[in-house]
Amino acid sequence: MGSAEKKQRKKKPNLKKRKNSQLSETDENLITVKEDNEQNKPSGKKKIKREKGNSFDVRDVQDNSNKAAKEKKRNKSKKKLRREEKSNATPIDEVGEHGDDADNSNENLVAGASQVKKEIENPGRPVGKSKKARKKKKKDRGSLMKDEELEENTRDADEDDVYMISSGDEHCSKGMKKWVTEYHQSRPGLKVLQQRIDEFITAHEAKLEQERKEREARAAEGGWTVVVHHKGRKKTTDAESGIAVGSVAQAAVEDKMAKKKKKDVGLDFYRFQRREAKRNEIMLLQSKFEQDRKRIQQLRAARKFKPY
């Protein structure tokens, strides 16, 4: 934790710069975060409450909460210190930059601050938190908000190489702006779409016509084409009007086919057929047996016999 904290401190100057240049953007972010915390509507509260169970590991969470409880006690005494820190944030930064070998008290200061941050994130944490504490926090919220801001900023400014990326709203080559633009472009209205499709179809038909002509031309040139025998039904549509003449549903065809089959000689008509059927059956049994055997080996490999 210590090293991360150190890194956080280093980043201060950068932060200032950013604040100036992109004030509007970041501020908006902060406000939304704040709103999340401040709004006392039930859904918001619930959300934050849920945040608690951090992971699947039971011990992990309990550890955290214990720590939180302990640290909270320490916090009280540190609150004053922290306020001081807040009032002159820059000097501490310098300390952080110069004294790399983690001055202990300083370390604690920041740890305290991060603790507050944690509390803000999880205001509903019931473990080791009495009502009184919660009330108190409400009172302190004003100052805490500032703390949070500070913390948020230190966090933002994590390391020197946190890469800042703009919202991308100014041009639409990448990201949200691009997707929104693409969305709107894809819906030009029915008229335009209709037109596009018409154009495509005309072009497509022209292409087909072209191909047909070429083929004919080739045939006319004295070349020859292979004549293919067309099996099956005659055309079911009138070529001119496109009206179905004798269209048959797929189901009907299948039905017909099924009926046809019955006319075939029964599968057990000849003796050799019966013999074969029997042999097949035995083969099937054998193969099934083999399968079972294989399966058992697999089961054994998977140790699938353990009932507990």
Partner: protein, 1055 residues
């Protein structure tokens, strides 16, 4: 090698049983024998050191003596009369993992008076005797620890559990139980069932018979004899012992019957001996056959009605009057060989019914399930959470009402309380419940018997309820007795209190009744309400001590404070109207012949069915828009078919274009005639109506046959649009039918989908696959019943995913139960060939999750590409840990009340990098379950939020003409999908994305393993900077949407 030859000779089932026996049988190896012998002799040595005539008073365990109400308990210690190893070890039938040895210690007659059978004096002395032994064993270095336990959960009969200091690898957790026996201590006649031996147990001064108390003493008196009898019988031939082991494995998997008021290992061995004595079992039977005989006897025998008595040996057997006495005193009678004691005196009628049910259902499994029901019989855990639809926990810690009348009279107070709860629920739920099971375990792990019995209420009392049918479950009015029947009506009023109402019903009768008003989507809570009302009214409990499980997962489906499924009715209505209007369209060249819903919202299986959007109506007034009008609307796909025509073009692109042309025409027609708005792209057409957006798709039948000819080669099967549409149509109607049959199916699917999505598996497991997996639970419920609550269904879904043998078996979902042997063979052939294709490389198994259905026997529709082998492994691991957590949450009290949420909260540290999104840029921010934060790793990039998009329309956007405002509403706009698409296009060979398409704000990234040698030579730091670069680029791709990117782990190299 030997085993291999036997494999070819024996039946696979026999082989499996053999393997199972090898697995669970705790064989007496020389090392084990030595361990047991050493421990037992050490115990004997310690005990022998106790000085004779050592005076014992109640001071050793004052609390215990006080609580059971014994007087005159002083005695002088004498060494035990006998030491004898009994129980399962003596017959070589110890079943792992509970490895223990029973040591019978014969209580010496000198310590007892003739009349000590009275008023719990025997029990008190028995306990004090053990206290003395315990004290001495504790001082001995050969024992690690000595603890208290209770015999069959009977607190007045404690036993000592001794753990030897020497540990054995072969027998982890091995312990010896010291069980006192009382052979011929008392006159048997004094312990007759009709006699009262606890003076405090009386009604208005008239003493009442104490059959349970008497049996409790008698049991000890005949313990050794019976053990000897069992030993003699079981050791007659090998198969009996094996059958006993199988029976134990069977029973232990079923926690509802392997408890104090039903079955235990001792009773099983007695039952087996009984059947041998009746010659129902002979020595030519195999173990499995014996098991079947026993189960069949339990399930169907008529002998239970008159009680089980061993055939008399020479002398006259049990007389009729005696039998009648037994029958009157106990619901179930299994008399011991000496015919003096009913060994089943703890068994309740409810417990016995449960036992019969389980035996019958196991027999059914053996007949109906694949592999002879081996898995269902022996390997599937049938515990409370998975078996019962509704589970309730009562926290009774410190609840003095339980023992207000004294801890132990004839029966113990906890057992009486169990019965009380059971009868209350039985009366309250009437025919809604098929069975109700109440059990309360009373042996805390660290029990200080000296302090008495008040601490035995630590563990919660557990109630399990099986629902009889959903109609009954969802019934709103319970009709009670007719008002004219005064007495009954009075009783009804007394039971229900203010809830009872006098009502006139349609048929003119006037009757007492209770009404449980409830909305459609909260019907599953009716039963919860009844349980709560009844328990709170009749037991002095506070609300938070009645923990109900059934609604604990509902939060995952809520949108704000509401479950959106409540809009389904209006959605279906809208669809009906749309369908009618589509059929009425005249001004297009081909008429519409059929309209079919595709989206899961139509079949109640969508996690978030759409909520009517104010802008998607035919007419709307801008002024009525409320503040939080969503800017996005989710389209619902509807498939339509046109009448046949020969004029369709032949090639694929042209077909699609023609379809679009048709859709535009349809849209225009609807717009002109009904004023419905249509918005279209080149591929889709969305129709707005009654607050919903319907996306029309045309299925062109010719397209189906086209595919077959085009994609003849099996290697690469990518379905064409038409084929996919066709399959989706089949799936939709199939699932819709199933939902009609099982109304709980929908909620279970929704929870399951939510689970998969919130663990970022949206890309791995498609919606339809989840639906099929859950469908399987409903179609093949054995060894359970069809699930009737979402929690139970969800738990079984997780266990199916975690435990099914995906590598070697296909999952066959036979919706209409009409698959014949050919179908199964075809499916199996498909499965085998799919596995063979990837035999060399297990990692390339395709599809890893083989789901065969009537419309898709080769599992090509949903799981061909995903999940792949590694994804499935991850999925299985998550399912397993979630299943375990869920089981724990149902059974045990959690000090932290927020644990339920953990089921849906995924640990983000399992990824190599994490991308967090701007919550206020998600299209549906209210669907977010938990806001994610990352506290570890390296913060790589931070991106500002875009102003181009927000989830809600801002006031400025709502001004203008209705046309303009309508255009602000975005159909099917999903930045997450766009982002994922962009990243995958760019980095599909480097990165894998794990995301939650239902509305999570975190995306997990893992590095694709690249095994090229070139990369191996590169140095690790370089690798890291390289990956950081990639992550930054990913951030660039997600400008305005992505918030932060964290780097956790560098790519691992494959050697």
């Amino acid at each position: 090698m030997d085993a291999d030859t036997t494999v070819t000779l024996t039946d696979p089932m026999d082989f499996k049983v053999e393997e199972l026996l090898k697995e669970v049988h705790f064989a007496r190896t020389p090392a084990i024998t030595k361990l047991v012998d050493d421990t037992v002799s050490a115990i004997r040595k310690s005990i022998s050191k106790i000085p004779d005539a050592f005076p014992v008073t109640a001071d050793l365990a004052p609390g215990f003596v006080r609580d059971i109400g014994a007087d005159k308990v002083e005695f002088k210690f004498n060494k035990p009369k006998t030491f004898k190893i009994g129980g399962s070890y003596s017959i070589n039938c110890v079943v792992k993992p509970a490895v223990n040895v029973d040591l019978f210690v014969g209580l010496p007659k000198e310590c007892f008076h003739e009349k000590d059978y009275l008023n719990h004096r025997y029990h008190a002395k028995r306990c004090l005797y053990l206290c003395v032994i315990k004290k001495h064993l504790k001082s001995s270095p050969s024992f690690d620890k000595v603890e208290w336990s209770a015999m069959q959960n009977e607190a007045r009969k404690p036993v000592l559990v001794v753990y030897p200091a020497v540990k054995s690898v072969e027998a982890p957790g091995f312990f010896v139980r010291i069980i006192p026996t009382a052979a011929s201590l008392f006159n048997i006649a004094k312990l007759n069932l009709k006699r009262n031996n606890v003076r405090a147990f009386n009604q208005d001064g008239i003493p009442r018979a104490t059959p349970k108390y008497n049996s409790s003493i008698l049991e000890d008196m005949f313990l050794e004899d019976n053990a000897e009898y069992v030993e003699k019988t079981i050791s007659r031939w090998k198969e009996l012992g094996e059958a006993l082991i199988l029976l134990k494995v069977w029973a232990r998997q079923r926690s509802s019957i392997y408890v104090h008021d039903c079955l235990n290992g001792y009773l099983i061995s007695i039952l087996l001996s009984y059947l041998v004595s009746l010659d129902k079992i002979n020595n030519s039977m195999k173990a499995l056959q014996i098991l079947r005989v026993v189960l069949d006897f339990i399930a169907t025998s008529k002998l239970w009605n008159r009680g089980l008595y061993f055939p008399p040996k020479g002398q006259i057997g049990v007389s009729k009057e005696e039998k009648l006495q037994y029958k009157e005193a106990f619901p179930v009678v299994i008399c011991d060989p000496s015919a003096q004691v009913n060994l089943a005196f703890r068994m309740t009628s409810v417990g016995f019914c449960e036992l019969q049910d389980e035996a019958a259902s196991t027999l059914q499994c053996m007949d109906k399930c694949g592999d002879g029901g081996f898995e269902e019989t022996f390997l599937t855990k049938i515990d409370f959470p998975a078996k019962y639809d509704y589970c309730v926990r009562l926290n009774l810690r410190g609840h003095t009402e339980v023992h207000a009348l004294g801890f132990c009279l004839d029966d113990e107070c906890w057992r009486l309380y169990e019965q009380k709860v059971h009868s209350l629920l039985n009366q309250g739920l009437v025919d809604r419940a098929k069975s109700i099971r109440v059990t309360w375990r009373n042996s805390p792990s660290e029990w200080n018997i000296e302090n008495g019995l008040a601490v035995l209420d630590r563990e919660p009392l557990l109630v399990g309820i099986s629902v009889s049918s959903l109609e009954k479950l969802f019934r709103i009015v319970d009709i009670g007795p007719n008002a004219e029947k005064k007495e009954e009506a009075l009783r009804f009023r007394k039971f229900w209190g203010e809830k009872a109402e006098l009502r006139r019903f349609k048929d003119g009768t006037i009757a007492e009744s209770t009404v449980w008003e409830s909305e459609q989507w909260t019907r599953h809570l009716i039963l919860k309400g009844i349980i709560e009302y009844v328990l709170l009214r009749h037991l002095s409990l506070s609300k938070e001590n009645v923990v109900q499980i059934v609604d604990q997962l509902d939060f995952s489906l809520l949108h704000g404070a509401k479950d959106l499924v409540s809009f389904s009715a209006s959605l279906l209505e809208a669809f009906e109207v749309l369908s009618k209007r589509l059929h009425l369209i005249e001004d297009i060249p081909l008429k519409i012949s059929s309209v079919q819903p595709l989206d899961s919202a139509f079949r109640f299986t969508s996690v978030f069915p759409p909520e009517p959007h104010p802008l998607a109506n035919e007419r709307h007034t801008v002024s009525r828009l409320h503040k939080l009008t969503p800017s996005c609307i989710q389209p619902l796909e509807v498939m339509i078919q046109l009448e046949g025509s020969g004029n369709w073009p032949m090639d694929h692109v042209a077909i699609e274009k023609t379809k679009s042309a048709f859709l535009i025409k349809i849209g225009e027609s609807l717009q002109n005639r009904w004023g419905m708005t249509c918005s279209a792209t080149e591929d889709d057409a969305d129709i707005f109506m009654s607050g919903y957006a319907f996306r029309l798709k045309i299925l062109h039948e010719r397209g189906l046959s086209l595919v077959k000819s085009e994609n003849g080669n099996k290697a690469k099967r990518v379905y064409s649009t038409d084929k996919m549409l066709f399959i989706r149509g089949q799936h939709a109607s199939m699932i819709n039918g199933l939902q009609g049959r099982y109304p709980v199916f929908g909620p279970v699917v929704r929870v399951a989908k939510r689970w998969a999505a919130s663990h970022l598996f949206s890309a791995c497991l498609v919606e339809e696959a989840v639906e099929l997996l859950v469908a399987y639970l409903f179609l093949k419920p054995l060894p359970f019943n069809v699930p009737c609550s979402r929690v139970t269904g969800f738990l079984r879904f997780l266990r199916l995913l975690a435990e099914y043998d995906w590598t070697f078996s296909a999952l066959v979902i036979d919706i209409n139960n009409d698959f014949g042997p050919e179908d199964f063979k075809l499916i199996n052939d498909n499965f085998v060939s799919s596995r063979k294709a990837s035999e060399e490389n297990v990692q390339n198994v395709n599809p890893a999750l083989f789901l065969a259905t009537a419309y898709d026997k080769a599992s090509e529709a949903w799981t061909t590409c995903s999940p792949n082998f590694t994804e499935l492994k991850r999925l299985v691991a998550y399912a397993r840990s979630s299943a375990n957590l869920l089981t724990k949450l149902i059974l045990e009290d959690q000090t932290d009340s927020c644990r339920w949420e953990c089921l849906f909260r995924t640990p983000l540290n399992n990824y190599d990098a994490v991308v967090l999104l701007h919550r206020q840029r998600l299209p549906y921010p209210r669907r977010l379950l938990f806001p994610s934060e990352v506290n570890r790793g390296r913060h790589v990039a931070r991106v500002n939020a875009s102003k181009a998009f927000g989830p809600f329309l801002v006031p400025e956007e709502m001004k203008g003409s209705s046309e303009e405002v309508k255009n602000k509403m975005m159909v099917d706009f999903d930045p997450l999908r766009c982002f994922v698409g962009d990243v995958e296009k760019e980095y599909s060979n480097k990165l894998k994305l794990w995301y939650d398409s239902l509305g999570g704000d975190a995306i997990g990234l893992t590095w694709e393993r690249v095994g090229s040698k070139k990369r191996e030579r590169e140095e690790a730091p370089e690798e890291e900077t390289d990956s950081i670069g990639v992550l930054k680029a990913v951030g660039e791709l997600g400008k305005g949407f992505v918030r932060d990117i964290y780097f956790l782990k560098a790519p691992r190299l494959m050697s």
